[in-house]
Each structure stands twice: as structure tokens, then as C-alpha cells.
């Protein structure tokens, strides 16, 4: 499952080796530029688009991957954007729709670049450097560490449910079963959290978040 997120995060390229703060700042700047630049300066959009694709190719992210992700993304942006011309009987609003779609896709591609070029742990270090409160970063780190455990448990429950031939049944029944799964998962997760808390306390945890000095 971790492979799904940042499949190209372990590669080596100039983009990967850039200082993390610079990577984040670049991504933010491009996204802000994409959203804020008025449409009448449309050549700027061409420049931004080229920049994004250049960034992807330098980082070694294949075009097929980008296209696949874009195809999943497009229906959501498209359905939102198409409501604009639809609301006016399909005779106006097309330019606004294109504007929204382009900006959305641009921001999405930039985020994809950032995700693949900066592994999550590096993002956390960067956030700390940028003076985000330590408890927030600690919770994010905790979340990332345990989401795989939770996901595995969910998967086990799903397999068990499939083994008991879940496919039939009314909608109400299916919702009830899924909710029971989530409820049990929640209780188990909270029990696990209590155990982990106990383990942390027995190793000297007092609520104060401390970090080893990474000095990078």
C-alpha cells in the first residue's frame, strides 16, 4: 500500500536531492501562481504547464503514471466545472469551466510531483523546520506510522466478510455490516492507542514532544 502513494519517492534525481524546504516552496509558488494569475495572462499558464512537465521528467516520473492519475482526477474536477455551463443552459460559462479545470489539473500535477519527490518523513522534518507546533508533527508522524496497521486490520476484516459471502443483502444490511466493521476497528484502534500510551509512559513519556536533532 505504501507503494501506491509515492512510487517514485525512492529514486535519485536532482529533484529528490533538492533541499526539502526548497521543494515545498517551489510547489507552493507554482500552485499559488496557477490559481492567482488572471486568465488574461494566459501565456503564463503555458509556461507553468511546461515547468510542471519539466519537473516531472527531471524527477523521472513517467508520463503514463501522470496520465493514469489525471484520468482518475478529471471526472471529479470535470463534474464540478461542468455545473457552471450546465447552470446556464449550456450557452455560457465554458471559459470559466476550462479555467477551473486547467487550474485544478495544474495544482494536482504539482502535488503529484511533490508527493513523489518528497517522502512523507521528509515532509515532517520540513514542517518542523518551518516551526509547525511539535505536537502537530508528532500526531502526523504517529498517524502515518499506524495507518498501515489499521489498513491491514481493515483488510483482514474485509477478507473475513468476503469469506462469509457478503455480496447479497439489502443496502441497509450492507451498511450495517460495514458500520459494524468500522465500529469494531475503531474500538480496537482505541484499545491499541491505550496500550501504546501505556508503553510510552513506561518508557518515560510525559506528554512533551521531543525530537532527536536531525541537523539537516
Amino acid at each position: 500500500m505504501s507503494d501506491f502513494w509515492d512510487r517514485y519517492g525512492r529514486s535519485v534525481s536532482i529533484c529528490h536531492r533538492m533541499p526539502p524546504v526548497l521543494k515545498l516552496a517551489l510547489a507552493v509558488c507554482v500552485i499559488v501562481a496557477g490559481v492567482a494569475i488572471p486568465v488574461r495572462y494566459w501565456p503564463a499558464y503555458g509556461v507553468l504547464g511546461c515547468l510542471v512537465f519539466a519537473g516531472h521528467s527531471i524527477a523521472g516520473i513517467p508520463l503514463g503514471y501522470l496520465i493514469k492519475r489525471l484520468l482518475i482526477f478529471l471526472p471529479f474536477v470535470g463534474s464540478m466545472a461542468i455545473s457552471l455551463p450546465l447552470s446556464q443552459g449550456l450557452d455560457r460559462g465554458w471559459d470559466l469551466m476550462l479555467q477551473i479545470m486547467f487550474r485544478g489539473c495544474l495544482a494536482f500535477l504539482v502535488s503529484l510531483w511533490l508527493v513523489n519527490v518528497m517522502p512523507f518523513e521528509q515532509l515532517l522534518v520540513t514542517l518542523r523546520k518551518l516551526k509547525v507546533p511539535a505536537v502537530v508533527v508528532a500526531i502526523l508522524a504517529f498517524m502515518y506510522r499506524y495507518v498501515f496497521v489499521v489498513w491491514d486490520e481493515l483488510d483482514k476484516m474485509r477478507t473475513a466478510r468476503k469469506a462469509r459471502s457478503f455480496s447479497g443483502g439489502s443496502l441497509w444490511f450492507r451498511w450495517k455490516t460495514l458500520s459494524q466493521m468500522i465500529g469494531m476497528l475503531l474500538i480496537r484502534s482505541l484499545n491499541r492507542a491505550e496500550r501504546i500510551h501505556g508503553a510510552m509512559c513506561s518508557r518515560g513519556w510525559d506528554g512533551e514532544v521531543r525530537w532527536l536533532d536531525d541537523s539537516d
Partner: protein, 325 residues
């Protein structure tokens, strides 16, 4: 999917970002007070759960499937402040890992799901619980109603933000508003039912977890401010239904936008008040929104009743080991 970059204008994104930042900062402060040293493991674990839970797809009888947002659920178990933080961090992680939701739009997403959803939803939930006298039925009914109203309020606020992002001439506000609110009234029913079921499951197994969210010293708010918060969420939801009939509402928005000189559209050459007479919502729109409203409300209350009835009157309380607090 959450709001992407490009849906809303930069100024609206910044404004919602500022509001969300303030609310999140406040929640952080209150959360540390109420949870103390359990903050990190508890909130972190709940965050991973919501993250995983949002990837579970519920069939809705159509080719599309829905998934649980979890704002009210987080608040039911963790309380309003930790719930808000957990959901906020889930949204941040979803952006950082899936590119789900825009970066600038994070402020708007957090405002809708974490602030309105968790904090506002918690206020509604506790108010309903108080009215129904606590216990299993109170908890479930509170969760169901809060979840539905939260979804509705969020969609209403999104329409407001959308309206402030673009000039009046660029789209038909009435149509879009109708579409959004109707759709979310239906989606909200799903969220409400699922939240109600999950809360009932938790209550039967570990009722102390639900009561854990009830602060003994009422620091979360005095009844007065809780009523105020609940009232705000309800008001937003009610406004979503009443707005089509209040034909002067968009005028108010235009006036507000003009007064605060909010840039409604950078490239629109038409003035703010162009197509002024296009605003009143026509007959079929108000009908569909009221149908959605009435139908949705009925469905929500039916769900609350049905889920409550499926549960025996006296739920066995399992003795749990002391947590050493």
C-alpha cells in the same frame, strides 16, 4: 473528493484559510488541556482510523460509491477539539499523500469538515443528547442529526464561497445552489446513517468511549455557547433550504462583496451587478430544494428512530479496566 485548487478564488481561499487556522490553533490549545499526555497516541490513532475509513467505499445502489467523512464521528469519540485536529490532520495527510484536495483549498476543506463538521457537529450532538436524555438513543440520535446537518451546512458554506469567488454573470447561482444543496442533502443521509450505526456499535461495546467525549467539568463550553454553536450549524443548514425563497439573498451577498471589496472575478468585465434580475430562483428549483429538505429531514429522523429501535433498551455495559488515570 475535496475542494481542489481552482474552484475558489485566491482571496476566498486565504480568508477561509485564516478562519480555519484560528479555529485549529484554538482547538490545539483546548485539546492539550483536556487530553494531556494522551494527546499524541489517541489523536494519532484516531487520525489513522479516519484516514483508513475514508478509503472504504459504501455502495449506494448506484454505479458510484460513497465514503464516510467522519467529522462528527471523530467528535463523538474524541470530543470537539481533538476531533477537529484529527480531521484536519487527515485532510493534510490526504493532500500530502494522495493530492486529494488542493493546497490553497485546505483552508476551505478544514473549515467545512473539521471546524463545521467536528466542532459544530459536536455542539449539535450534545444538544440533541441533552434533549433526549442521554443513553444509547440520545447518543445515536445526536450523531445522526449532527452528521446530516454538518454535511448540509458545509455545502451551504461552499456555495457561499463559490458565490464570492466569481462574478454574478458567470454562472447561475440559483441553479448551482439547488444542485449542491440537493445533492448534499442526499449524501448527508448516507453519512448520518453510517455515523449513527458506528456510534451505536461503539456504545454497545464501550459506552465509556462515547461518554469520554463528555467533559465532566464542561470546559468545552457552557450550555449557552454550545447552544449558540449548535444554533449556528442549524441556521446554516436551514438557510440552505430557505435561501431559494429569499430572493434577495444574492443581493445581500453582492452588497457584502462590494462593501468588503472582495475580488469576485479578476477577469470579468461585467460589473458586480450585471444580470441582477437573473437571481430569483424559479419554481422548479425551490420545489426541488424543499423536497430535498423535507425528504432529507424525514429520512434522517426515520434513520435515528430505526437505529435506536434496533437496539435493546438497556445496553449491557461492559466493565472496562481502569486506564490508570
Amino acid at each position: 473528493m475535496h475542494i481542489q485548487d481552482g474552484y475558489l478564488s485566491t482571496s476566498v481561499c486565504l480568508a477561509t484559510g485564516a478562519v480555519s487556522l484560528g479555529a485549529v490553533a484554538y482547538s490545539l490549545h483546548r485539546m492539550k488541556d483536556s487530553l494531556g499526555e494522551r494527546t499524541v497516541p489517541l489523536t494519532g490513532m484516531m487520525g489513522s482510523l479516519i484516514f483508513a475509513g475514508q478509503m472504504v467505499n459504501f455502495p449506494i445502489g448506484l454505479p458510484v460509491s460513497g465514503h464516510l467523512m467522519g467529522g462528527v464521528l471523530a467528535a463523538a469519540v474524541l470530543g470537539p477539539w481533538a476531533g477537529c485536529i484529527a480531521v484536519t490532520l487527515v485532510l493534510v495527510a490526504q493532500w500530502a499523500l494522495f493530492s486529494d484536495g488542493g493546497l490553497l483549498a485546505l483552508g476551505a476543506n478544514v473549515l467545512h469538515i473539521a471546524v463545521l463538521g467536528s466542532i459544530g457537529g459536536y455542539a449539535v450532538m450534545t444538544t440533541v443528547r441533552k434533549l433526549l436524555g442521554g443513553g444509547l438513543r440520545g447518543a445515536v440520535a445526536g450523531a445522526v442529526v449532527a452528521a446530516w446537518l454538518a454535511v448540509l451546512a458545509a455545502s451551504a458554506v461552499f456555495c457561499l464561497e463559490f458565490r464570492l469567488s466569481y462574478a454574478a454573470s458567470d454562472f447561475d447561482f440559483g441553479n448551482i445552489f439547488t444542485l449542491m444543496v440537493t445533492l448534499h442533502a442526499l449524501i448527508g443521509v448516507g453519512e448520518a446513517i453510517i455515523t449513527g450505526f458506528v456510534v451505536s456499535v461503539i456504545y454497545q461495546q464501550r459506552s465509556d468511549l462515547i461518554d469520554m467525549a463528555q467533559p465532566a467539568d464542561s470546559t468545552v463550553a457552557s450550555s449557552a455557547s454550545r447552544f449558540a454553536a449548535a444554533g449556528l450549524v442549524c441556521a446554516l443548514a436551514v438557510a440552505a433550504f430557505a435561501a431559494p425563497f429569499a430572493s434577495d439573498l444574492p443581493d445581500g451577498l453582492d452588497a457584502v462583496a462590494e462593501r468588503f471589496r472582495i475580488a469576485t472575478s479578476e477577469d470579468s468585465t461585467a460589473g458586480l451587478f450585471a444580470d441582477y434580475d437573473q437571481i430569483p430562483v424559479s419554481g422548479w428549483q425551490s420545489l426541488s430544494v424543499s423536497v430535498a429538505g423535507i425528504g432529507g429531514s424525514l429520512a434522517v429522523f426515520a434513520a435515528a428512530v430505526l437505529i435506536g429501535r434496533a437496539i435493546p433498551m438497556t445496553a449491557p455495559t461492559i466493565a472496562t479496566e481502569a486506564t490508570g488515570e
